[in-house]
Subunit: 642 residues, 2 copies
């Protein structure tokens, strides 16, 4: 096989690659993560690179301008390598894996615990609930009676005997690795040891035996594994305190921005493994930083609790997700047995345990179960709605009697994908605008208040709401005005300039096009109609819904009024809306800290009824009716002065 050298700049990373390999694939091998919203189909145009020297062969596509072609810009997914090559990856084509800034973190993790908060109190406005503190891993100091001729039970049974004095454990397990070191360890410790007990599939495992008293150090991790963002916390299992929080982008984004493109990519050669490695790399890097910042030994972390959608959970465990997207949409497992974290390539104590929050179905995963748990929806007397707007949109409706849930194929537009100037909610993203109703001139607010680089989901919502209000667009999303310095025509219809390139940190003007608006309309329609269908399925209407929990990193920077104005959220009293931030992470942490919550999550995952929207004809009706700003049936939005 012919091999070539490929060097990526500005990283200056060189790898050897085989002929016919795409630049995207070579970049991943080199550890250079390139944007690829469509997963390598040549459609999204995110993966542009400049070939500085060398021989490549590319395929025709509509994503490059003539000028770009002249500058040797190529789509890395459609271009194969046929000689030693030098490639420049421009910053706009890069996935950024830097941790979020404190402001960004606050945006994404609003509602999460700080150091002072405790598990019993979740988020303001939620029904108070108290779980018994009983973490996934517990530590116990044992002062073992020394053996004698008259008390000659073996080392292991001596340990069991003492553990059972503390706790009634019918089925106790111990791995061979611990047994192998036991005799020396007990004697070297003069029979004073600390055992770490882990809960594992209705049994208890002796995860660790340590010399002396180490009970003070008992650490665990909880993670929300999102399609786009991964959030994790280091938790003191004794005090229930959160020691540190991290959030970063999921490296899997190189393989496509939504779960469907990833499931498709998993069928490629080594695709599944690459996806698995990307997510575990991301998590391991976060874990490393968390423990370094808190001066902790990796071996002192003995358990990790993960919540993710069903596809993310499969990929974390290196389990093929193929049948999630093939009718009738069956995952390999909703209830994953607790395993050793090392089996999933997660670097904590090599004997440490990894547990996943159980899911409901292929498109309502453990993150939703965790959200239902942490929001307290399951114990509400009144009907409540949980809307988790992320890369996917999961909706749950219910109270203490019943819960039904559905997934809206919202698409990643609100995460910045598939829209011309979209970006994720990070530094430089426009998230709020003010449009002068006469001059149509614009003031905007960006994340971290830097020069604008693009528009994030909440920005798009606010922009569309303002454009509706000022009459720039009609209820169909078409731009009504022509003669204005911000309005111009492109091949794909009209577009409106939000920020000119001179005032921005971008090489082009930041615009919103009619095509973008159409795309965002479909996304909001998907979420609204999924919510509406759940309510209708119970023969109710929105007025019966007393609380609406808005979850997801996205949700926390959302203007409720704007979201109602575009018809994303139902038109209810504003006081019914409660931002709960990352409810998946909050739920994962509760499960990490309480066995009662673990059992409850199991119960909820079995109790939640999944509604498959794609096979429900009523869903298409609801969706079609919602393809209008705010809706075809204006009676549904009485508060809007229309």
């Amino acid at each position: 096989m012919e091999k070539f050298k490929v060097t990526f700049y500005p990283d200056n990373l060189t790898i050897e690659t085989e002929k016919d390999k795409t630049i995207l694939s070579a970049a991943i091998t080199a550890g250079v993560y390139i944007n690829s919203a469509c997963g390598g189909d040549g459609v999204c145009g995110r993966c542009k690179v400049v070939v500085k020297s060398g021989k490549v062969i590319t395929q025709p596509n509509g994503a490059l301008t003539l000028e770009e072609k002249r500058r040797h810009v190529y789509l890395s997914c459609l271009t194969t390598i046929h000689g030693d090559t030098e490639i420049e990856v421009p910053s706009e084509s890069r996935l950024e894996f830097v941790n979020l800034t404190p402001q960004e973190l606050e945006l994404r993790l609003k509602g999460l615990y700080t150091d002072a908060e405790e598990i019993e109190h979740v988020a303001p406005g939620l029904t108070e609930k108290i779980f018994i503190h009983s973490p996934l891993a517990t530590k116990h100091l044992l002062n073992l009676p020394k053996p004698s001729i008259n008390d000659n039970t073996s080392d292991l049974e001596r340990l069991y005997r003492e553990v059972r004095k503390i706790q009634n454990i019918p089925v106790m397990q111990t791995g061979l690795a611990n047994i192998r070191q036991l005799s020396e360890l007990l004697r070297d410790s003069d029979w004073i040891v600390t055992v770490t007990l882990g809960k594992r599939n209705d049994t208890v495992e002796i995860v660790l035996v340590e010399s002396g008293d180490t009970t003070k150090t008992n650490l665990g991790l909880c993670f929300d594994i999102g399609t786009t963002t991964i959030s994790g916390q280091l938790v003191d299992l004794n005090t229930k305190k959160v020691l540190g929080t991290k959030a970063t982008y999921n490296k899997q984004a190189s393989f496509g921005s939504d779960v469907i493109t990833r499931i498709i990519y998993a069928r490629e050669e080594d695709g599944l493994l690459k996806l698995h490695n990307s997510v575990t790399d991301t998590m391991n890097q976060m874990i490393k930083e968390l423990i370094q910042e808190h001066n902790i030994d990796l071996n002192d972390v003995t358990c990790i609790l993960c919540a993710g959608n069903t596809t993310m959970t499969h990929l974390l465990l290196n389990v093929d997700p193929t049948y999630i997207r093939r009718e009738p949409y069956i995952p390999t497992a909703n209830f994953i047995p607790t395993i050793r974290a090392a089996e999933a390539s997660i670097s904590i104590n090599p004997r440490g345990l990894l547990s996943c929050v159980p899911g409901v179905s292929s498109y309502v995963g453990g993150d939703t179960t965790a959200g239902v748990l942490s929001s307290g929806l399951y114990k509400e007397n009144d009907l409540s709605l949980l809307i988790d707007i992320g890369t996917n949109g999961e909706i749950a409706l219910g109270n203490k009697e019943f819960i039904i849930a559905a997934a809206a194929s919202a698409g990643p537009a609100f995460e910045g994908s598939g829209v011309s100037c979209g970006m994720r909610a990070s530094r430089g993203a426009i998230q709020k605008v003010n449009i002068d109703p006469k001059s149509f001139e614009i003031k905007y607010l960006t994340i971290a208040e830097t020069k604008p680089r693009g528009i994030c989901g909440s920005g798009y919502i606010d922009i569309i709401a303002s454009m509706l209000k000022t009459g720039i667009i009609d209820k169909n999303g078409k731009i009504k005005i022509d003669d204005h310095r911000r309005v111009r025509k492109s091949e794909s219809g009209k577009e409106f300039v939000i920020a000119f390139k001179e005032e921005s940190d971008s090489t082009t003007d930041i615009v919103i096009s009619e095509a973008d608006i159409e795309n965002l309309k479909r996304t909001k329609a998907a979420i609204y109609s999924a919510s509406a269908l759940l309510v209708r399925h119970m023969s109710l209407d929105f007025s019966s819904v007393k609380k609406i929990f808005i979850a997801g990193g996205f949700g926390t920077s959302l203007e409720i009024d704007s979201a109602i104005a575009i018809g994303l959220l139902p038109d209810l009293e504003r006081s019914r809306f409660i931002f709960i931030g990352n409810s998946s992470l909050a739920g994962a942490r509760e499960i990490l800290l309480s066995y009662e919550a673990t059992k409850l999550a199991d119960k909820l995952a079995r109790k939640i009824t999944y509604l498959e929207l794609s096979v429900d004809p009523a869903y298409m009706d609801e969706y079609m009716a919602a393809l209008f700003f705010p809706h075809t049936d204006l009676k549904k939005f009485p508060s809007l002065r229309l």
Copy 2:
């Protein structure tokens, strides 16, 4: 580090070795197994080799004659290598690892099942008992309902649901490896699969999921791991039939012939690992032959059940046995969790399970538990005694009410170690003699009726009994006659020729010396006094013992009259003695085939009371009194015409 080439003949195996390494150690590395009864202490003189060329340095020792030194014979354990060396390993210094001949097998495994026998019937003379057939691994054909939108439970829960229709299993476990292949396998199999369920520490594990109907092939193994001999059987778990039986020497014998020398060796550099590898090599070779002979795929063997003494069990699992021999004699574990066989380097299906019969204490192991179980002693109305004479001598006394057990530090004399012409009970071993009371001329019977090569344990017993009867020795074991062609003096006292070298397959005369007789006297005294102490501990005497089960490979070729004549066995009606052969293997097989037997073994291991003889002053009294043929108190042997 200086390295040298060492070549072993006649194998013609060359390895590189470091300076200062002993020849014994180099031989083990090369895969040449040399006899070493004392475990490398330079005491037993079994490891003689001829250095043909090269430079070696040896230590002074009394085990070599001048003539041997002249012939460049060295003790391989005391001789280190200091240059490229060629070494001849004579056949008498080799451990033979060939499988036993059918006759030998019959000798060692008398009482075992043949193809036609079933688990319910153990050995003649035993109380009949019936265990429910419920093997360690069971197979079940599942015809899974195909998933649909309305029945969209995941693949794994679908499997669980179907399994639970067959059997009520509260705690079911599945390894990640099986989950990873599940989705493709179910669909490729058109939802018709066979699951193998394994019992694992009070839970049930899905060990295997196979396409289609494979329920007909359900195979398991049971092993008795003896200090000297390892016996194993391939069992059809469906029909309970034994498909094949193997017995061979434990390769660990290279590191010493008794458990104590092996425990000491385990502390040497890599000692534990070498001992572990030796026993697993032996077992894997047996497994390979068993499956090849029966045309079986290794992957179809999904479980293995092992019984061994406590030291053997530790070494099988690569667990340090050090504290077994240090007061107060504590093993790491008597109850070993069921593990994956691969964790103990045992080659069956990579997901297959390995279970060990639980032991009682450091010197009463799982082999005794298995023996108590298979003999049926635990359900006898009358007082019964189980004597297992192997490299160690384990004794259990009891009935359906109670069981007490002890280990006699018998030493390996009956296995052929520590006696001048001793050998294991294999081809050419003298096992029976007839001495003419007048001429003192001898007729002997050898195993496989070949020319004599040495004397095995039962041979020694018969020889001493005959020498006593004919007046050649006195009750102390001293040779009384002088003037006979078979009698001569050596440095260590008198010796009596059993077979001259001309009539034998040996390079020297086959003799029994006064030192040998002394050694054998101590061994028989240890076993007798342990039995006597157990009876005395219960304030009883031997007359209350209604059944005496004689177990162990050795036991099956024993002449009861001779054993009583020398005072090895108590002087009771001959009809009370029952040969039960390898009761450890029989017990292991019952446990493999019946979960009821598994639970019973657990119960027995907890129920059996261990008596530590070494700390009981009465034991020394009993032992001293037994250091006489048959005993100092002749009233205990009334049937002997003394």
